[in-house]
């Protein structure tokens, strides 16, 4: 019998910001993104002056954090965040959006904010499909991936190719930070948290826009178990969407 005491894991405080459950299907990692945000808001003591803007889709569950929040239109979150930050520069403002919200219907809004180098943070959850509406093809859907609107698998002739948003964001001068993380392991979690923290710091230090893409499991629509979903992310999604930092500058001329 193993009598060795369990290793004590230090859990970051989220008492101020997580007071109600964030909704999600079993194995959904969007609430995990919400938890990382909650930990960081408390660590950086930002929660009291934060205004969060969520998109429309499963990402909007993150609006259940105990902070001031807005949900506007599908895709318009960067616009809404832009106005808040410009009018109220001492507030801390970020968006949480899905991949469809951010780079399909909201592509104009997203690119507009990047072009202007708004002093905000954008967090895009990439689950390779439209979760809320039942698993349709998204701009981030992998080649050959079966969805309800790519029943034979995504093919280039009709569906084009997956979009690489973190790499795209890094090409904009007004973007100070861009990275892509995942959540398939505890180490992944810590790295992704480090990326989001770095992106937040670019706003706090008034350097420029920070962007983080987080690859997130959607077991319900992928028709996999949560554990299979994590394996699929490691084996299929990460080769298409490499993890890491794509831009990190401390000064924009």
């Amino acid at each position: 019998m193993n009598t060795k005491p369990a290793k004590r894991v230090k859990v970051a405080a989220t008492k101020r910001t997580m007071v109600m459950p964030m909704p999600g299907c079993p194995g959904c990692q969007y609430p995990t993104v919400g938890r990382i945000i909650a930990e960081l808001l408390e660590e950086l003591n930002l929660d009291g002056k934060t205004i969060e803007v969520v998109g429309i889709g499963c990402n909007s569950g993150v609006a259940m954090l105990n902070i001031d929040a807005i949900q506007g239109s599908h895709g318009g979150a960067p616009d809404t965040a832009t106005a808040i930050k410009r009018l109220s520069p001492d507030s801390f403002v970020y968006t949480v959006q899905g991949d469809g919200d951010c780079i399909a219907i909201g592509a104009g809004s997203f690119i507009g904010a990047l072009t202007r180098g708004e002093m905000i943070t954008i967090i895009m959850c990439n689950n390779a499909n439209y979760g809320t509406t039942g698993g349709q093809m998204a701009p981030t859907t992998l080649m050959g991936q079966i969805t309800t609107t790519s029943p034979e698998g995504r093919g280039a002739a009709t569906g084009g190719y997956p979009v690489h948003v973190a790499e795209l964001a890094a090409t904009f001068k007004g973007v100070a930070y861009s990275a892509r993380g995942a959540l398939t392991s505890s180490a992944d979690y810590q790295r992704t948290k480090k990326y989001i923290k770095a992106a937040f710091k670019k706003q706090i230090d008034r350097i420029g826009l920070g962007f983080v893409e987080v690859i997130s499991a959607c077991p319900a629509n992928w028709h996999m178990s949560p554990v299979e979903s994590l394996k699929w992310i490691r084996e299929k999604m990460v080769p298409e969407f490499p993890l890491g930092e794509f831009k990190n500058v401390d000064h924009i001329d």
Partner: protein, 364 residues
């Protein structure tokens, strides 16, 4: 001494907004309203206020959503094609009960239509173009002074009802210059905005604020127990707006047998025509709706009971004429003189007083 200055209609939008304490302007260039966007680009930074040139009108309206939610007086301006792009956002703002002012300087439609004046957006403005059956007050000034003053009234009404308010101008009013008394109108204190987002610890209540457009799907605050109770509340608000915000002007209407109904630049053409017709002894007058929504149905109906007939003059193929028909309920004759009566078949053609006079002579 009264401070009167010569101002262009589009710039009067800007001066009126500044007198109303507008904090932020968000907009996208489009003819014939460009002087408005340029005014704010020039004037706002000097005053420590916010100007953002958005990447589209879709973007501009969602910027208004954020600015209004954060408790600031915000506005945009556009013309027909941009108005179309703003409709989704307007529906969201109406649903979230956020105040803002949207100026629409009408040009000819449909599609790109023309870049010159017209009155072809009446229907989509008064019926609202976005999804879901919301309402918005529409003010239709007819002079540069009135544009200036309407902007201030619009901000006041937006705050009063927590709802978008539209100021409907056109390519003539926007580009003419008239002398204006640049006076800030006192509408009393701005209602306290306890519902804004500003950061949880900055809330007086210490309770987070969540602003969204899905009241039956999200928890309080800002939530309603269910969908129908929310709509009941919205319906009551719209009824109150319809009851309280009717605005109109009458001209020579007391003894009139024929009443012209017109708004915006065309109402001024009609006044000229009425003066000429009166000189010939014809009993003709004008009802000018100042608010197009709510429309002065009852005012027109009262005239029906006096035996008046109506001539709607409108620089379109016929839009407001439908509201006039609703008002008279088939109990009076309703005639129409529209865009086809322009003096030239071009974008710059106008309905001129002589043409309206001809019609009055034909009918009286």
């Amino acid at each position: 001494m009264i401070d009167r200055v010569l101002v262009q209609g589009n710039e009067a939008v800007g001066w009126g907004a500044l007198n109303a304490g507008c904090d932020g302007f968000f907009g996208y260039p489009i003819t014939p309203q460009n002087e408005i966007t340029e005014f704010f680009a020039r004037e706002m930074p000097q005053r420590g206020k916010v100007f953002v040139q958005s990447q589209s009108e879709t973007g501009a309206i969602m910027m208004l959503f954020g600015g209004a939610a954060a408790g600031f007086r915000v506005m945009t301006s556009t013309s027909g094609p941009g108005w179309g792009l703003m409709q989704e956002g307007m529906s969201h703002m109406a649903a979230a009960e956020l105040p803002c002012v949207i100026v629409l300087v009408q040009r000819g439609g449909p599609g790109q239509g023309s870049v010159r004046h017209a009155q072809m957006d009446y229907m989509c403005v008064t019926r609202t173009g976005g999804a879901g059956g919301y309402k918005n007050i529409v003010l239709a000034p007819a002079s540069v002074q009135e544009i200036h003053d309407s902007m201030q009234l619009a901000f006041c009404l937006a705050d009063k009802y927590c709802n978008p308010v539209v100021v409907l101008s056109d390519g003539v009013l926007g580009l003419i210059a008239e002398t204006v008394e640049m006076k800030a109108i006192d509408f009393g204190p701005v209602p306290e905005r306890v519902w804004t987002v500003k950061g949880r610890d900055r809330q007086k209540s210490g309770i987070r604020q969540f602003i969204h457009t899905y009241p039956s799907g999200a928890p309080p605050p800002g939530g309603y127990p269910d969908y129908v109770p929310w709509l009941e509340h919205m319906g009551q608000k719209y009824d109150k707006m319809a009851e309280s915000e009717v605005r109109y002007e009458t001209y020579q209407s007391e003894d009139a047998d024929l009443l012209l109904v017109a708004y915006g630049y065309v109402s001024r053409v009609c006044k000229e025509a009425i003066n000429m017709a009166r000189a010939e002894g014809r009993r003709v007058g004008l009802i000018r709706p100042i608010a197009l929504w709510p429309f002065p149905y009852k005012v027109l109906r009262d005239k029906v009971d006096r035996g008046c007939s109506f001539l709607v003059v409108e620089d379109s193929l016929g839009q407001m004429v439908e509201d006039v028909r609703v008002a008279v309920q088939g109990k009076a004759e309703v005639h129409f003189l529209g865009l086809l009566a322009r003096h030239l078949p071009t974008q710059g053609g106008m309905i001129l007083p002589n043409r309206v006079l001809d019609e009055i002579r034909r009918l009286l």
